[in-house]
Symmetry: C2
Subunit: 128 residues, 2 copies
């Protein structure tokens, strides 16, 4: 099938699919015309990648996950280790964002938001 159909089935934009081929995540066949010809297995891989990306895994993690998926002799420990490390990073990010949110929402609440120049937000940024 053509790239447009593969895109429709996976929810990934054609540009992204081409990019995934460029960096070696997939290797779709080519027809006589030069058009990519996606097999069901290609589409399956793309969907796998889309879901892994949606869970926030990096491209390199996705490459590893795909390798593990295709390796019948993998151990689930390897998968779990990768997922746990990624989970830890997500938790770090959440913590950082929550800290920003706490500070910011205090500042926003303290700001009158009227026509006067006096502003606790700017004061905080200026003074620390």
């Amino acid at each position: 099938m053509n790239i447009g159909d593969a895109a429709a089935r996976t929810g990934l934009p054609p540009k992204t699919i081409r990019y995934y081929e460029e960096i070696g995540l997939i290797r779709p066949a080519r027809g006589n015309s030069g058009y990519r010809d996606f097999s069901d297995a290609d589409v399956h891989k793309l969907a796998f990648l889309g879901r892994a990306r949606a869970l926030g895994f990096s491209i390199e993690d996705c490459r590893t996950l795909l390798g593990l998926y295709e390796d019948e002799s993998r151990s689930s420990a390897d998968v779990k280790r990768l997922a746990r490390s990624h989970l830890a990073q997500i938790e770090d990010k959440i913590a950082a964002l929550q800290s920003m949110r706490a500070t910011l929402s205090h500042l926003v609440d303290a700001c009158a938001g009227d026509e006067r120049p006096d502003c606790p937000i700017l004061r905080d940024l200026a003074e620390g």
Copy 2:
């Protein structure tokens, strides 16, 4: 003062400070040697930028905030609007990450993490 001192006082790397000059956030003077010569006001601005960046504001938001800070006739409403919009983005990101965390931690918990190939994480990525 030289860039190294400005860096030490603001906690920003020299590279970052040069970058901020390049994109027009600051305009430090230059000595005869060609070295940048940072005034206290420059350092103050850099510290302001550092704190705004630490709260997750984009560079363009920082530019706007700095402009508002230096505009004596600003209205705090403009600052508050910007901060609130940024806060909303942070909350969206937190929600997205929490959703990832929920899915991932379930999967991680369900995975035995031993030497066998059977793995709920990969199964979920493969099947959806």
